[in-house]
Symmetry: D2
Amino acid sequence: MSSAQRPPEAAVADAAMLREVIKVQPFTRWTGLEVIKAEDGAVETRLVLRKDDMTQHHGFLHGGLVGFLADNAAAYAAATMVGDVVTSQFTVNFLSPGIGSAFRARAQVIKAGKRQVVVRVDIIAEQDEGEKLIAVAQATILPVGER
Amino acid sequence: MSSAQRPPEAAVADAAMLREVIKVQPFTRWTGLEVIKAEDGAVETRLVLRKDDMTQHHGFLHGGLVGFLADNAAAYAAATMVGDVVTSQFTVNFLSPGIGSAFRARAQVIKAGKRQVVVRVDIIAEQDEGEKLIAVAQATILPVGER
Amino acid sequence: MSSAQRPPEAAVADAAMLREVIKVQPFTRWTGLEVIKAEDGAVETRLVLRKDDMTQHHGFLHGGLVGFLADNAAAYAAATMVGDVVTSQFTVNFLSPGIGSAFRARAQVIKAGKRQVVVRVDIIAEQDEGEKLIAVAQATILPVGER
Amino acid sequence: MSSAQRPPEAAVADAAMLREVIKVQPFTRWTGLEVIKAEDGAVETRLVLRKDDMTQHHGFLHGGLVGFLADNAAAYAAATMVGDVVTSQFTVNFLSPGIGSAFRARAQVIKAGKRQVVVRVDIIAEQDEGEKLIAVAQATILPVGER
């Protein structure tokens, strides 16, 4: 159940606010996640791979962290549209191994409604040859504001 | 892309083998995950919550780690049936906040075929009042053996 | 976007009400779907295969109708708990071809909350040798009552 | 379990072949589905709404048929890349009611691998005001050729 909290007076999240949110989310902080961009339903985050505690047995980014990147970016993208949110569900399809020195999640809100926000996410690896799409996700995020 | 590796001579994974697998999977090792049970398509794992690096801003288990528990248990359950695997996709629906001192993933293979293995997973919190189901997942796992 | 309508005075749906709902849902009526059971979050429906307009090229139930059975039973199950609903999303995993003379959807509400209802569904074929599980699904259903 | 059959000598499907496939798929034929385009992993199909047997109780396209459009277009798109296929799973998120006189599914293969093909699909309504995106889907399709 991911969520991006905001002060009651704020309408929606932006990059500066999400950077503050990360400071009070111990797991996200542990990942070292950076918020590159966050506005109008579009979010980009970036995670630098640490070989010693983020990988599976081949030294690639662990699938669990690919899922985290997707869920997190989807929730943040929704928060830029509707403020406080929780994740209802997400689906992730893995395309290629998590080979790379860093990874980006690019989330785009497809529809922000009163009851739900639907988001698509691309997970991209930074490889020597350039960017590579390694997973695609789709998420349902629920607004939790005072309604 | 989760996977549970096995020596070429071994047919399928069991609990002892999965405990060895965890030792060479840095992220899974970081989580401190225990394999409680692993046989015949049924797997149970357990994760003890560390407040300082596994939580979100309310002190609950982070949703990204709920997703990890689901994906991981699904892949391990498939590995008890077909050996080496990778995760194709998983879907997780969050039901309740990740409140608890420890969490269990119970995975059950629904169908193990030549081309794919389908698994359902329950994620359960250990709370003062007893066990609580906090998320449900469904996963498609692909055998990657020498075919 | 499936939905099970109810009169404003009624709290939740039951089998009798759902049978009336089908009469005003042209596509569901076309399928000949029967409601076998509908109470307390558990629904069972049944569809008799018509070879001439419900099959794919091998004479099996078309996957699109397997998806329909899952979505429909999930929405009906949620309606027995919370009244008016719409489907937010569903995931279906296909296990075996749709071989059989009739098919049943068994839906069980896992959690009925204020904002969402999560449902699991089994799709079962009636075959000469007995029942066979041919697909599993997971759905998020949203209450749409006067909130 | 959708599938797009091809003669053994043919490598992959194209629009002409898929139009022949529809003739031997009774349910798809019943829907009157047209194949607008099918090449290189991109497929567009179109369904004209029949009010008397394709709708739910408000006269909108039934959600079960939205799911069918997604699954079908995903399988066809995969077939343009890898030939014979079956659907492993699909997820559909509903965004808006199925209001419109006709509906289009636009499917795009994201990754065509040896073991699986991942496809994204948009479902679009033709409304008086123009096109409207009413659902998004993500599917895993499995090649079934002689491997």
